[in-house]
Amino acid sequence: MLRWIFLFMAGAATSMMVAPSFAEPVELLISNNLTARAEFRKGDSDKPAVLLLHGFLQTHEFPTIHRLTDGLAGAGYSVLAPTLTLGVTHRKQSLACEAIHTHTMDDAIKEIAAWVNWLHARKAPAIVLIGHSFGSVETLAYLSRHRNAPISKLIGVSVVEGRLKIDEKALDKLIRSTRAKVKSGKKSLITEQFSFCQKFLATPGSMLSYIEWSPARILAETGRLALPTTFIMGSRDDRLGSSWIERLNKTRAKVHVIEGANHFMDGDFEFDLLDRILLEVKAF
């Protein structure tokens, strides 16, 4: 009898140890023929749940997201790391720049909202949105669309400007021409440089939905957020404009720069990033 008692206790302890890191694949029906996938790590119920959103065209298995998921889950936080469908049901692969992109920022906002609702339905005491790279822009767009969303804090890691390496005038011109195509109903795919894509192939609507999130709009919308907002940036992030971090600092958001880290915060900087995020989450 005593033996069985000891065995039970050992099993319980083991389950308690592995439970925070147990990964649960989650699928969420977005529409009739579109299902989104996500990884959910259930954490302590008294801690805030974290929704980690990957960068542009990536998945929740992107290393930066994956490491953060593991780190946060290890710290006892429930973590939901969804993969935006980008119009691909059950998407599990990064979508190439040259793929036919029909998805829009609105689609992303809808899916983030669905996942927030899904997480909120799990009775989380609070929900912290963490976005990486353009995912930070998309979470910002979500929050700008859903002002009353049950989000307690927004943490943007390596938040980008969106349309990179183009001046404001040229961007305005591109936006106007694209907007004209959308307005005229043209559906021919167009190719433009966007984010890290040299040739981003997309429908005019898709293209317009993303390029409209210009740096100025990002900064503006950040300023309009009512919840605490932190941007964690790498000092060696080469995906950013030279003055982007400075411009971010001019917003009401808190900007933390990890010296020496690149856009992906990999290597030894992943721990710095995790520590910073944990600090941010604990501080909440």
Binding site: N33, L34, T89, H90, R91, K92, A96, A99, I100, T102
Partner: protein
Amino acid sequence: MKFAFKPHSIGRLALLFVIAASILVVSLGGYFWLEIQQASRALRENLEASARQEVSHALAAADQRMRSSAMSLAQWDETRQQLVFPEYYPVWRDSRVRDAGMISSDIESVALYDRTGRILSAKSAPNGLPNLLPGKPPLFFYIANAGRHQIDYFSPVYADPAQAILLGYLGIRFDFLSELKLQRSFQFADLGRLKVGLASNSPIDIRNSLPHLQFDTLSNDHLATFLQLFQAAQIRLTLAVLASLLIATWLLKRLLVRPLRFFSREINAMRTVDDNLPDGRLFTTPLYITELENVRRAFIDYRQRLFSLHESLEQNSRDFFDQARHDALTGIYNRRAYDEDWRGLGNDRRLGQAALLLFDCDHFKAINDTYGHQVGDAVIRAIASCLQTALRTGDKLYRLGGDEFATVLLDADPLHAETVAERCLEHIMAHDFRQYGMSEPATISIGVAASQRGDLGLGTLQKQADLAMYAAKRPASPKVVFYSEGMGELNALVANRSINAVFEAIRDSRLIELTYQAVMRLPMVQKEYVEALTRIRLNDELIRPDAIFPIVQARKLDAEFDLSVIRAVERDMTEGRLSPNQGVSINLSAPSIVNAKVVDAMLTLVRKQSARKIVVEITETALITQMETASANIDQLRQAGALVALDDFGSGYSSLRYLATMPVDLVKFDISMVRLLEHGEARQKMILEEIAGMVIDAGYELVAEGIETRAQLDMIISMGFSHAQGFYFGKPGEEVEEKIRQDF
């Protein structure tokens, strides 16, 4: 069963050896060729098996790869994207799927189908894949398209990894051959002319489709090179061996066969040689084989000794030949040489200008008997020497036998022949025969026959010379007689018919027909007895004495013929052709008077017919030849009662010594002497009258022959002749009584 061994020539055996060696070489070459072919076939089969295995592996790999490619494509997010939002499906199908590197270059077409199996965007689907799925995927379909082999593979596309949510289907078309080639580098299979034994648009199990595939096997370059090198080497080796055999054949023929053949030929030539010895051409140069060279040297020595022996034999043969052709006594050519030279000239040959001279010593028998054989031999040698001296250089003189000689003068006209004959006669006459103890000279008679225009054959020439010789031998004939047409009678008599008649008459005396010529007693002119004249009647043909006796003399038939005549006379006496008291005179030849049979027959007749007067007429020649025997026989006949008459006195070789000693009762003056008495010169008449007187005075009765006229009869009566006979008293066989009675 007995095996008959038959030897073969070295050349044939050598040829057989070379042929056998060639066949062996070719056979071995063929054997190795076949072995290589078999090995090549086995290797080819291995290659084919390897090729099949290779293709089988390629099929499995292609199947796996196509499935893998289709699976990768089905699991590609953008594939699912198109099945959910197919608005830009053509872009994805035509460019995106290739640009993304999701399909390999050998995949020719890609198509997506919805869950019902209907192709997305059928209107813009020129890629050849069907608009509707041909079956329930996963499915491979074989397509034969313009000589190409294509495979359509259809695979389901699921939304979730558990394959619970079917989104649609994926179709890819790839080139079967390219896909197979893409799998691996074929070392054995040649798929260039791949044939698939399946109908187009039929399902195919690629992994197990090998039985449906037909393909070639890649030629193994190393094997082909090896075979080519081996075959070339084998051909070169065979040619080299054959060439070596040819050279060996030449060497064999040159070094062994040819010498052996020459040896064989030389030895065979020696075995069958007559006048030709081996030519010895081989033996001028040394041979290369020691043993043959030894044989060659031994053969040379042997041949030289053989040559020496041959030359010695030839010399001996020539000596024997010469001895056989020469007369031992005289040293001139003999009868054999005459016959051989005669045959050499050819009996049927027509001569141009040529003359045959026959010489005969007169009364040689008498000389021999009188002086002995040594003197006779000396006379023969002297005559031969004289004749040889008289002849031209190169003219051959033959001793035909006894006292007969002959020579043939080629290219000699009659005048030249006559000159030679006269010269011969002169040489004989000039010779002093007294040195041999002879008291009288030896004389010769010469018969000459000449061919002037090539109109005579040798046989005819010889016959004519014989006739001329007989003519020369006749009493009162010149010593050199040329054959003339006038000798036709002789010619006829010596014909076979006459000879045959003589022999028949000897065998059967009934063929002898005797006519009787009366011998008249003078001066009463009364028939005292008759002389039997001999003729032969054969087949109603009458052969006269002048044709009979030359044959008898030539054939030495005197005794036999005289015996037959004696039997004929006896027959006539018996049969009454002669009256019982009719005396008869019978001529006996010189040989007969010394022949015992003839003498005995004559003695029998005389004794048997003692009532008749029997006269035996002999010629003076009989007395000359065998004087003693003849005298003894005559004495016996006279003692038996016969009278002996010396016939033809004065016609030939007459000697007063014989006349003085001859034991005869009657002497018959030859007709020539009777004619001289009538028509001769005074001196001739006086001599003859003296001779007649001497004969009468010696006590002989004298008979005159050839009395043809009354004047002749009167003359001989006046001279004291006791008997006469001739045509004046009637021809032989006629009765003379009436005629005599009329004249007197």
